[in-house]
Amino acid sequence: MQTTFSLGTIDWAIILIYFVFVLGIGWTLKKYMKDATAFLEAGRSLPAWVTGLAFISANLGALEVIGMAASGAKYGMMTVHFYWIGAIPAMIFLAIFMMPFYYGSKARSVPEYLKLRFDEKTRGFNAFAFAIMTVFASGISMYALALLAQVIIPMQIDWNFLGIHIGEFDFYLFVSAIIVLVYMVLGGLTSAIYNEVLQFFLIVIGFAPLVIIGLLDIGGWEGLKANLPENMIHTWKVSGSPDANPMGVEWFGILMGLGFVLSFGYWCTNFLVVQRAMAAGSMSAARKTPLIGAFPKMFIPFLVIIPGMIALALTNIGELELPLKEGTMITDFDKVIPVMLMKYMPVGVLGLGLTALMASFMSGMAGNVSAFNTVFTYDIYQSYINRNKPDQHYLKVGKWTTVVGVLVSILTAYVARSFNNVMDFLQLIFAFINAPLFAAFLLGMFWKRTTGHAAFWGLIGGTIAATIHHGLTLPAKATVGVKGGFINVLHTYPSEMAQNFWTAIYAFSTALLLTIVITLVTRRLKSDEDLKGLVYSLTPRIKDDSKYWYQKPGFMAIVAGAIALALSIIFW
């Protein structure tokens, strides 16, 4: 079967209308971009429902949509662990315990919070690592978009521009880069956030018909269960041992590695998502941001994982054939969403589905660029290159950073295209750097004695521990190299995922221990007065100013937690 699409005029019109609105939003926002705060922090003025949807949408980039559908087909229901245990508890923790410090401290970024709480070197380490990581993430998003566009929008492009050959890949890459660049330079963070909200609704409205028709076809949830192996339709029941489930992980690794270290490390400290909450208009709105996001977040699996499972079930009964990876005999699960769209969607809703997919790629890029802008302008440029300039200067720098960020992302996209291994390698390094980060935040926020030296060396030590653990272990059936074992293979994990979870657990534990030990032997440099608003015990309790009891963060947190728990039990 050939994976080509025939798009009708209507489909093109839908895609075009979306682009007009994206650019129109940027254009309308232009007149409000009067200072650096407006451009880089959205003026700290957005309502909670907007930042809440942007909070989950920033993470719902194409890599997530495509990747989660692929995981649905590979691992089945267990993929929901990335949501119900791997996101909701961390989002609740961020809202209730951490947001008061992030928002209340007036820090403009996560690295800046580290500077206020610890010291310059901890900020510097985090700022540089994060800046590099985000441009790479944005580049990978662009690469994936151009790759997918080649498949779903077949166009023969063969141009010569000053002797350089331009094919479809280059064309789609540049078109998407230019669109993102234009709306980001015009409207800054607000543009990014508004487009994330738009993308969220597009994904829901664009994918819902796919899921409904797919489920009707396979005979509902019962039909889906009947056509999938037993170990793919449960979440916790099959996690007793790694052999019992296709993911090759056991409950402790899921709970500690994914549910605690990786999840809290991502949702509570990654500036890409935290920035959305910081753009809210009030403390109350900032705390509600992750909570409002938590409700739709719990149900996203039904939009992205279920299509993958349906695709596999259809394959099992011979009604669908998934394409193979080029030149191999391995099934290309990344094509699940395009293949399903093509199977079920007639002209019209097909354009809608493709637009939703494209929107998620573009906002994936834009989200990373917006986080990069703020960290580069405030934490690198203003801190190390050019201090004490008037605000207008930083507004200008912010705009130019957008241009540079997009250009570097384009470069990265080409790197990703030519050296797949380089990208794997880089992502691995970022994973090593991120794993111990939550240890520094946890101790920093709840133990006032924690010192800057301790946090810094804890981060470095945790990163080294992650590297060593990775170097000493290997997933089953993998070859020594990027996948691990480059020092010596002491232990073999049943799967790559199990190895990742345990790398995170070791990195976090090392960082936690090191930070505690070093804190005890170093002198405390920050007084109680310095740490006011930055540490739990030195910050006055916040009284939420919501009018009604059901709008209070505490109540919303309990409801969100209860629903996530109920879902886990229903799909046990």
Binding site: I25, A42, Y194, F201, L216, K343, G348, V349
Partner: protein
């Protein structure tokens, strides 16, 4: 921020909804076209839900609220 995001969201989904609804009406009963979606006129259904959503966004936006105050 000065722009209420509900306005562009409402406008976009209304426009797209109208397009899909019209398409759904014109192609209603086209068995070949809706073979993919198991015979359901999915354009019509999606279009109508998008119009409802778009209208809801516009009606709750500052566009309408401001007018009421005046």
């Amino acid at each position: 921020m000065g722009l209420d995001i509900k306005i562009p969201i409402g406008l976009m989904f209304s426009i797209l909804g109208i397009i899909l609804t019209i398409l759904g009406f014109i192609t209603n009963g086209d068995a070949e076209m809706y073979e993919r979606s198991l015979g359901h006129n999915i354009n019509l259904w999606s279009g109508l839900s998008m119009i409802v959503f778009g209208a809801f966004m516009l009606l709750t936006s500052t566009l309408v609220k401001k007018k009421k105050k005046e």
